[in-house]
């Protein structure tokens, strides 16, 4: 079920991305105090997500799932949802064994509060993410923080832009803001102008509702892509910062759930297994039946 939702969200994101003119809006920046920044560095491209936490705190793994629900970021978790195998299609996508392509793996970094990174000594499942935190995942080799590649230096404000220092968008801290009417690119001057970097900012949940210029598909998908606990839907979800200035089509392609369309349904090999099991089972039953009468003699003497 979640796959379909993720797929729908990503489809709508792709649609939104391919029609930057019709979307035509700058993300009203998430000045909410209820977001955390997630930086995903695949080694080739960096994507920032300003993820709404929906009140309270979540684990580092849940942050990834929330980012998937809110932005269609694809992921694959292994070892019972304790480890990250793949993000945005990079890593181990077809197995639950996250270290199948070792020494390359997803390193886990925690923002130190001033833009730098600290290597996490524990897994994402054991880390609590609060509002205002910065979490980073980078793909590469290196067994610990001294050798593993770091994501680019990122502060919370770079992703969620509470301060909005450039002032170009008119969004300020706290108060409600209109989703439309922001300048394009004014607020994206910190992180998003780096080459190969894509930025996803969440809409302020307290923002204005009923923005009719958003595409229908996007609105529908946002309803599908709600976080599990069902807090109120931010009205205008489609503002995934797809401005003409910073839009990077490759990032949207990468963000499509990995193979979610092509993997469905049992393949021919599955039927081969079924057939083999049937044949083996029936042959075994036939042989057992033939031999059964001979073996009902009861106990044998202890084998000494």
């Amino acid at each position: 079920m979640r796959r379909f939702r993720a797929f729908a969200v990503s489809l709508s994101l792709a649609a939104a991305g391919l029609m930057p003119v019709t979307v035509g809006q700058q993300a009203a920046c998430a000045a909410t105090a209820d977001s955390a920044a997630l930086v995903v560095d695949t080694g080739g491209s960096v994507t920032d997500y300003c993820v709404e936490l929906g009140g309270g705190s979540v684990s580092g793994i849940d942050l990834i799932k929330l980012a998937s629900q809110q932005y269609g970021m694809s992921y694959n978790l292994g070892f019972g949802g304790k480890a990250v195998c793949a993000l945005n299609g990079i890593g181990v996508t077809d197995s639950g064994d996250c270290f199948a392509s070792f020494p390359d793996y997803w390193g886990y970094w925690i923002g130190d509060g001033s833009g730098g990174w600290l290597w996490s000594s524990v897994g994402g499942d054991s880390v609590t993410v609060e509002a205002g935190d910065v979490q980073g995942w980078s793909y590469g080799s290196g067994k610990d923080g001294s050798t593993h590649p770091q994501p680019p230096a990122t502060a919370y404000e770079d992703v969620c832009r509470v301060k909005d220092a450039s002032g170009g968008s008119g969004s300020k801290d706290g108060g409600p803001k209109e989703a439309g009417g922001s300048g394009t690119g004014g607020s994206k001057d910190t992180a998003a102008n780096q080459p190969g970097r894509t930025d996803h900012a969440a809409q302020d949940p307290a923002g204005t509702s009923g923005n009719s210029t958003n595409g229908n598909g996007s609105d529908g998908a946002s309803g599908d892509g709600r976080p599990r606990d069902g807090e109120p839907t931010p009205a205008a979800r489609a503002t995934e910062a797809a401005t003409a200035a910073s839009f990077d089509p490759s990032a949207v392609v990468l963000a499509a759930p990995n193979g979610s369309g092509s993997r469905d349904g049992p393949p021919a090999a599955g039927f081969a297994v079924l057939l083999a099991v049937l044949v083996l089972g029936m042959a075994g039953a036939y042989m057992t039946r033939g031999r059964g009468a001979r073996h009902r003699a009861g106990h044998t003497s202890p084998r000494v």
Binding site: G80, D97, A272, V277, H299, T300
Partner: protein, 263 residues
Amino acid sequence: MSLHPAAWISWAGCAALVAFSSTNPFYLVLLVAACWFVYSGHRLPGPAGRSFRIFLLFALAAVTIRTALVLFDTVNLPTIYYSALEGARLGALLVVFGTFNSVADPFGILRLAPRRFHEPALAAALALSIAPRTIDAVGRVREAQALRGISLSRWRSLPALAVPILESGMEEAVTLAESMDSRGHGRGRRSRYRPQAWNMAARVTVVAGAIAAGAYVVAGMLGEGMLNPPTDPIVWPQVSLALVAAGLLVAVPGLFPSRGEPS
């Protein structure tokens, strides 16, 4: 003609490797079916042959308990699915072990051990045969208790069952070790009593098992064939035809059924 015990050891080791290298339910179901086929062709007469069914029950219990362990952690669909797959791997291993117990005579294996390693081999044979011997003991104790008018249906009567079983297990092990000693095992003379032939069937079994295990281990190292399907998000597990074919090789000993002569 039953297979050479060494061929059974090799078969069980290879089948266990296959079970161990995958949590893909398709491969595991195929492996269990192959074990059932082998068991049907080679089942030993007497209580030893009952091991398969007992271990099948153990396997179901293992899957259930492993899945229930998720209650100590986050409970959602992916974690339940992951736990069930891990349990299925454990269950498949148990089925392989049960099959081995029902088709191979552990003391035939003991005869193969070099003199030097007689003692460890004896310990290993006793450990391997614990399941069939316990099943045998349960049957005998129940019968005896029933004759004395003790019904063994309630929990309170569990000691009446468990104590004699443990006791007879110890006693049997000691008797066995003494009888082996008195017959010259481990005393510089190897028994030539009913030597088992290393025939074509044994050779084919060993080669087929090695190919099967090799295919799964190599696929595991290369990350091919979706041996461990993704669990979060859940995707439909794929199988590769090559690994299905390799899994079928585990069933090869079933093609040379033994004729049910006492081992």
